[in-house]
Structures are given as structure tokens and as C-alpha cells.
Amino acid sequence: MMTIFGIPTQALFGQLLLGLINGAFYAMLSLGLALIFGLLNIINFSHGALYMMGAFVAWLFLNLLGVGYWWSLLLAPIVVAAFGILIERTMLSRLYKLDHLYGLLLTFGLALIIEGAFRQLYGISGMPYAVPPELAGGWNLGFMYLPIYRGWVVVASLILCLGSWLLIEKTKLGAYLRAGTENATLVQAFGINVPMMVTLTYGFGVALAAIAGVLAAPIYSVNPLMGSNLIIVVFAVVVIGGMGSILGAIITGFMLGLVEGLTKVFYPEAASTVIFVVMSIVLMIKPAGLFGKGN
């Protein structure tokens, strides 16, 4: 068996691949957060709860209505995005003129309510969600046995992230959005409905979280607390990437997944903390984040 620094390459590649799978989730979630922060100036603490909601809606679809995985992948994000838009219209929209911190506190409260409600209804032991039959089984890659479903998650995440990036960077709609981020008043003056754009952006960011939730359902059991520990990590990803930077969020998401995977090879217990070490170093050296503008 080959080794690198005394670690069998087999184990190293295996952990890196698992890291990439985790990174796929970080990327999807932090992309949504970064979009929302860019335009709304709101740090959406309820993002983890909405991710959890995505998984739960898929589970409920399956168990109450018999709607399968593939339809859930389309419908659950729509349901959750509608919920998100409701929140934006009724609550968040009142806070845009205030300090960021109020948005953070409000969404923190919302996260507590959503998680508490699901805990109250379903307990925290988690509900199983079967892998769709089309994606069952696995491939033997030589260095590890990769369940097909986990491979699919990475592919789906890459497609989503790339698609979103193209949408924002290469289309007219994206151009309005970027302009709105820079100077909302001016864009409004050009006759573009900025409040509508803000609402839809929030809905889009939330939908991304919900898709991640549906993708996660067959891997982790559907659990009311699945988002609450993830959200803190995803925050760190957004801060490291540079708040509001779309590309930064995507790249940092995958990258930190890999860093975590690497840590699991050498010092498994520290895997959940290494991201915060990276974050504090980045914030000390480059406060605007790796891909952030300005200083």
C-alpha cells in the first residue's frame, strides 16, 4: 500500500472525497447566504433552519402524499421559498435601514422558532429517507467504495453553483442584481422594481438551501437539528470567502470541505474546529475575506 506522510493514500483519497461531498453542501448553502447578504445586507441565520425545512418537506411529501424524490427536488424548494418570501415581506423588509445586527438577531429568532416547531412535532431522533432506487448502489473506485448517491450530490451541487454563477454574472437579470447590490437607489431610478428583486433574491437563496436539504435527506436522516450545527460552519465559509462574494462562497465551500477531509486524516477530532481556525486567521490578515472587495 502506498503512503504519503505515513498515511495510506487509500485513506487520504477517501477522506478527501468525503470532504468534497461535505463541501458540496457548504457551497450550496453559503452561495445562498452570500446572495442574500449581497443584496439585502441581512445575515440570514435562519438559513440552516430552512435547509432543514427542505429536507422535512421532502419527507412529508413522500410520507403524506407519496411524492417521490425527484418531484420533491423540484417542489420542496418552491414551498420553502414561498415561506421565505413570506418572511421577507412581513418581517425582514422592515429592517433594511437598520444595523446588520438586527437582521442577524431576527433571523436567529426565526431559526429557533422553526427548529423548535419541528422538534416539537417530530422529536430529534431523525426520520429515515431512502435513497432513490435510480441512485442506489455504488462504484468501486479502487481507493474507496463510493455510494452513487453521494457522487450525485457533488455533481448536482456543481451544476447548481455553476448555473447560479452564470445567471448572476452573464445575464441581464444578474446585471440588475449586481447593480442593485452596488447602488439600489440608482437602479430604482432606472425603473427597475428593486423591492421585487430583493424579495425574489431572498426566495432564490432560500430555495438553494431547501434543495441542499432535499439532497441531504437520504444521507443524513431527516432531523430537526440538522441545520443548527451546519449554519455556524456555513457562516464561517461565507466570511472566509468574503461576505457577498458569490464566487468566493462557492470556491470556499468546496475548499473547506477538502480542508476538513484532510484534517480527518491527521486529527479527526479537530475536523469541526479547523474551519474556525481558518476563519480567524483570514479575518486577521484579510478582513474582507479571500475573495472580498476592498479592505
Partner: protein, 403 residues
Amino acid sequence: MIMKRLLLSAAALALSTGLAHAQFTDGKVKIGVLTDLSGTYSDLAGQGAIVAAQMAIEDFGGKINGQPIELISADHQNKADIASGIARKWYENEGVDAIAELVTTAAAVAVREVAREKGKIDLNSGAASTPLTNDKCSPTGFHWTYDTYAMAVGTGDAVVKSGGKTWFFLTADYAFGHNLQAQTERVVLANGGTVKGSVKHPFPNADFSSFLLQAQASGAQIIGLANAGADTINAIKQAKEFGIVAGGQKLAGLLVFITDVNSLGLDIAQGMVLTTGFYWDMDDGTRAFSKRFAERMKGKMPSMVQAGVYSQVTHYLKAAAAAKTDEGIKVADKMRELPIQDFFAKNGKIRADGRMVHDMYLAQVKAPSESKGPWDYYKVLRTIPGDEAFQPLSMSTCPLVKK
């Protein structure tokens, strides 16, 4: 003044939570069931434990020497600080005489400390760790259903003797997991096996993939799961997903409950060897109790933890009736004096260290073809006599044991 009113109303709120009871417990006997009602262990203990305690009280007649028996329950969420807080409040302010069930070692030890200080009784059924009857033992603390020593003597021994010589452990990172791993390692080494390594996972944990990969890389024949409840279920399912069983390694669940087998399904669980303190389908006594239990629990059969709660509460009530008091230390002495004779334990006895010694069973999970219906899951391979199953007093570090 409004500030004051606010504080007063906060104080009134606190009062109305039932804190105003007198400090003495005369006039009634009160039992608290403190368990995991929402988390990883809620299936194997949880609501079922409360039902078992209720049944014990009803079967006893609901009264003890003419005084009513009351039952309260709460969720400790598997957290030491919550368990300790509730236990303190129950003992100090709500006239609770004995706390039963107590799954999760961290919570059990926290309650043990409070109970010892207050001279009140704690009855453990769900927690597994041996320190409860060693350095953490107490004159008023009891350990009922099983412990990690018994698990290792049963499962660990059977697996090594059937050829599983090299081991890798997947261990829940808290006292229970460490203890279960240590006990099993001892048995593995004593039988000529070797331990290739171990990895600790957070508790509770959802994604075992990276840990399983390490276990796979170790090349050990047996992956020992030193965890319990939902953690064990997730680990077994994901091991299947990652083709670990297909690759030739075997999983050994070191603590598996019938509720886990039920969640996994016989397809996945078949052939697994496990140790249990109770199986519903042993004789008329166990079947009669389990049938009544299932009627109240939507058809679920009792786990060993839940059956143990019935047994321990019943024994406590018997002892309190015999001692004619609810004073902790006196009832505890009576409990040690009386033998335990019920469907759960035949000729059970309580030792100086608080261990209730009874027979354990080595069982194997049936294949789907062998199972005749729901909950027909185990075939009992052998009965492990109580004195063999539990740690001998000569090894005990409990200061109450006279040597």
C-alpha cells in the same frame, strides 16, 4: 415600580411552577422517571419507560400502606446539566423519593451525585457504564438491567470465539462509549484477539462515513460499535451503504436493543449476535407483561431498559412498603435485603455496590425467513448466569464493598 412588579411576576411565575411544595414527603410516595424523551435513546427508553413505571405502580395497587403513589416524568435530553438540575429540583422541592430509568451515562452520573448528597434513591435502568457500581457507587444508588461489563462478557466473548480476532472500535465520545470499548477490549485481549485501533465519534452523530472509512483502512476483521441507539443504527446502515460488509469486514454491535433491530429491519440485522437482559418471548411471564405493555405502546414490545424500569419500580415499592418509610437509606437497605423475583429477574439479588445481579442472555437476530411475525426477532443462544455476567465484587472499586 414597574420593574418591581415585573420581578414579582417573575417570582410568581417561578412559584406557580410547583416549587411551593413542602420540603417533607410524608403523605405520599413519589417516583420520577427521568429519561430521554426526544433524542437518540427515546425509542429504547423514553415514553415506554414512563409507561412501564405507570404499570408497576398500577400493579402495586396505586397505594402504599394507604398512601398514594405519584409519578412524574421529564426529559433530560441526554445532558448532564439538565439532568442534574431536574433531579435537584425533584428531590429538594417536589418531594420525589426515587428517580428511575436514567439512560445516558453522563446524565446518570449527574443524578447519582445529587442523589447521594440528598440521601435519596436513584434507580438506573438505561445507563450502561460500570463506574455507577464502582467509584461512583452510592448506598442509595442501584444499577438494574445490564452494564458494559455484561455486554462485553456476552457479545465480545462470543464474537472472538467465533473467529473475530482483530478489532477496530467506533466509539461514542463520552463516558459510556469509552467504558464499553475498554470493557470489550479487555475481553478481546483476554481471548487472544488484538485491537488494531479506534476512533471516537461525536455524540450524537449523523454521518459516520469518514469514521467507517478509517475502520475499513485498518483492515480489522471486526468493527466494534461502542455506541448505542440511533448512533448504532446509523453506523450499521452507512456501513452497508459504503460496502464495508460486502468487503468482508463484520460489524459487532456491542450494545443493541430490540428497538434498534426493529428500526434496522431483519434484512440488515440478521445474524447479529447481541447480549440482552430481557427478551419478551421467553416464557409466560415475559409474554404476559409484554402483551400488556404493547397494548399501551401502539404494538411496540418492551426493550430490556423498559422492562427493567417495571422491575426496579416494583422492587422499590415492595421495599418501601416493608420498611414502612420513604426515607432513602432505610428503603435502600430493605431493597438489598429482599430478593427480586419477577418476570424480569429470577432470583435477582442486589449487592453492596448497588448492582442487581440477574441472568443475561446471548441472542442472535433471526433471518427474515425464521421470523414468524412482528417482533419475533431473537433466538436465545445461551443463558449467562448472573455471577458470570457481572463484574465480580473482588474487582470492584466501590468503597462500600468490604474486602
